[in-house]
């Protein structure tokens, strides 16, 4: 992966709309043949980034290089880049065939070749027999396929997809996710995929770029981003996270002691200094519950809500300090009814660490998330643990 050619290079890219900074000093490398997803909430600058690559927007600062050539100022029609639009943007007055052929006609490809390549594409996206129809006669999923075929037929250096599945229902979306991934592997074309759906990103991508407020929070494989989030924002945005704040009190022989409100835990050293504050992050699926203390975990809480969520059971546990933790367990694991006093624990290798200082700007967000978690858990102030 590392030795693959870099096909797109963004350096120090800034984009402002009416004085608001939408993309803020963005650096990004896209490797040839990879499926790269830009993930972030709406308004994080991910679509603007895509549009700057397509040529619809011009960056205010920085460079956008495509195959080593600066393309800032080059119009979209002169770039070897194609886009799949969020609303498909099919030409309503043209047949499916003519829609797909549009790019080749513009390139003045011989008619016979166009016909052959359109047929090939129609087959690839499984739209045989629909060639003569108009876009309005197709379903959402079919329109989506036309949009993909129309872009792919041009053999772009990179295909840009702007939330292409946003308008489809859940079942169709799952199916199209697989089809897209399959197409990308089969054709070997570089995909830049923009989405706000973290599950989609984890499922499809070779690498994920998590964006927030116009900046890159983290770039990594789905495993890296999920299992080792670098910032609190990433930890909260991708999957749910239980964050416990603490600091290092002992370092000895490759191990360290993490001290926090509920005691001490011995962990593998991760390069933290003594007294350094950080968050310990435990994913809900790694959080376990027991009615008696396990090893050196003495984190006690009361079950406030149990939610059946299909494939998992979701349990909310309120700790003595009021913090609510979230645990997810398989349906075959015993669940504790609401009101039960439990001890929570986890495999010390299955947690990640986040520096606190660089995350201070997100404290507000964390508070909000805590609030919603509390609301979800439906706890009242009097629900604090009774003294034994």
């Amino acid at each position: 992966m590392e030795d693959k050619k870099i096909i797109v290079r963004l350096r120090g890219v800034v984009k402002r709309f009416d004085g608001d900074v939408v993309v803020n000093h963005l650096d990004l490398d896209i490797r040839e043949g990879e499926f790269l997803t830009v993930l972030g909430p709406s308004g994080c600058g991910k679509t603007t980034t895509l549009r700057m690559l397509a040529g619809f927007e011009t960056p205010d600062e920085g460079t956008v290089e495509l195959e080593g050539k600066d393309v800032v100022g080059i119009p979209p029609n002169e770039r070897d880049v194609n886009t799949v639009f969020q609303n498909y943007a099919l030409f309503p007055h043209m047949t499916i065939e003519d829609n797909i052929a549009f790019g080749l006609v513009e390139k003045k490809v011989p008619k016979k070749e166009i016909r052959e390549r359109v047929q090939e594409m129609v087959k690839l996206v499984r739209l045989e027999g629909m060639e003569k129809r108009k876009p309005s006669q197709l379903s959402g999923g079919q329109k989506q396929r036309v949009a993909i075929a129309r872009a792919l037929i041009n053999n772009p250096k990179i295909l840009l997809l702007d939330e292409p599945l946003g308008a489809l229902d859940l079942k169709l979306r799952k199916q199209m996710q697989q089809e897209l991934k399959y197409l990308q592997k089969k054709l070997g074309i570089t995909f830049l995929y923009v989405t706000h759906d973290q599950e989609e990103a984890l499922l499809m991508s070779d690498r994920i770029v998590v964006m927030h407020d116009g900046r890159v929070e983290q770039i990594g494989t789905p495993e890296e981003v999920y299992n080792h989030p670098k910032t609190k924002y990433v930890a909260e945005f991708i999957g749910a996270s239980n964050l416990l704040e603490g600091y290092v009190t002992e370092i000895e022989g490759g191990r360290m002691t993490f001290s926090f409100e509920f005691g001490k835990i011995n962990l593998k050293s991760r390069g933290f200094k003594m007294e350094e504050m950080f968050y310990l992050c435990v994913r809900p699926e790694n959080l376990r519950m027991s009615q008696c203390p396990v090893e050196h975990f003495h984190i006690r809480g009361r079950v406030t809500e149990v939610v059946f969520a299909g494939s998992v059971n979701r349990t909310f546990v309120r700790l003595v300090n009021g913090q609510v933790l979230r645990a997810e367990s398989q349906p075959d694991v015993e669940i504790y009814p609401v009101g039960t006093l439990v001890y929570v624990y986890w495999n010390p290798d299955k947690c990640s660490f986040l520096h606190t200082q660089e995350d201070q700007i997100y404290d507000v967000i964390e508070e909000e998330i805590d609030k919603t978690l509390e609301e979800e858990a439906n706890v009242s102030i009097d629900d604090v643990l009774p003294s034994e």
Partner: protein, 284 residues
């Protein structure tokens, strides 16, 4: 069944006044015109109650055919100019920031709150030999003799385009405004330059607006008579003038009525064409 009848009564009551209005002010005069067109004129400008096709037959006279031809030509030229001038105007308005659009449309419509004939008088004040433009140009020393601008075919065309331009701009503006900007981006993304994007995407997708503009300019252009009177010096005869003359000067009401019926028939044909194309657009 009884219940249905009960409902039908108030409904008839509701649309009754409107129907009465239409009957009194549209169907009755129209019927009157139709009847007169099949009668004969008498020597004193009245009509004789005697069935005749003479008026319709005389429509085929070479002199009248020439009038029709010239009217169609003028209406055609007016329409083409209105589209050529109006499309860019509509495009600019539609692509302006939203808060400016309403203001721009208002400014375009504002002069039309004044009676059209008065505005045409205004033009002749500007253009005539003792008019404002000639006066300024002479005093600036640009010209020594007034330019004979008024009473030419060109000024008639100018007046027609001026009078009918908003009717061309509005439908085109609506069409262009509805155009999805992502379609233009998609065309550009697929390699089309500005010219190709316009020809292959913008123009076909705004064609309903263009067609509506054509109809809404062509039909009134066929019937307008006072512009050629006031700005063309009544040198040329158009259908509108001809009809007016038959009723007011020549006192040949049956011929005037027959000419009116012809004009109505042409208009209905064009409107029919328009609504059929409109229906086709719905399917697309």
């Amino acid at each position: 069944m009884k219940k249905k009848n009960k409902e039908a009564l108030p409904r008839g009551f509701m649309i009754g006044p409107a129907m009465a209005w239409l009957a009194l002010f549209l169907l009755l005069p129209l019927g009157y015109i139709v009847v007169i067109s099949f009668l004969q004129k008498n020597a004193y400008g009245g009509v004789i109650l005697h069935f005749s096709l003479a008026s319709y037959r005389s429509l085929l006279h070479a002199a009248y055919l020439k009038v029709f031809a010239e009217s169609f030509l003028l209406a055609f030229e007016t329409t083409v100019l209105c589209l050529l001038v109006g499309y860019p105007m509509a495009y600019i308005i539609a692509k302006s920031p939203e808060h400016l659009r309403a203001v721009m449309v208002l400014f375009m419509m504002l002069p039309f709150w004044i009676n059209s004939m008065i505005r045409i008088y205004g033009w002749s004040t500007l253009l005539r030999n003792q008019g404002v433009i000639n006066w300024i140009l002479i005093h600036l020393g640009v010209i020594s003799q007034p330019l004979g601008m008024l009473y030419t075919d060109g000024t008639v065309l100018l007046g027609m385009v001026y009078d009918l331009l908003p009717f061309a701009v509005l439908p085109m503006y609506t069409s262009i405004e509805k155009l999805d900007p992502f379609l233009l981006e998609a065309a550009s993304d697929l390699g089309a330059g500005k010219m190709h994007t316009f020809l292959k995407v913008t123009l076909p997708l705004t064609s309903p607006g263009l067609f509506a503009a054509t109809i809404q300019t062509f039909i009134p252009a066929l019937g307008l008579f006072y512009i050629s009177d006031m700005m063309g010096g009544a040198k040329k005869m158009y259908i509108g003038n001809l009809i007016k003359n038959q009723f007011l000067s020549a006192r040949n009401w049956p011929l005037g009525a027959a000419l009116s019926i012809l004009l109505i028939a042409v208009t209905l044909f064009l409107v029919g064409l328009y609504s059929r194309v409109g229906k086709m657009e719905d399917i697309v």
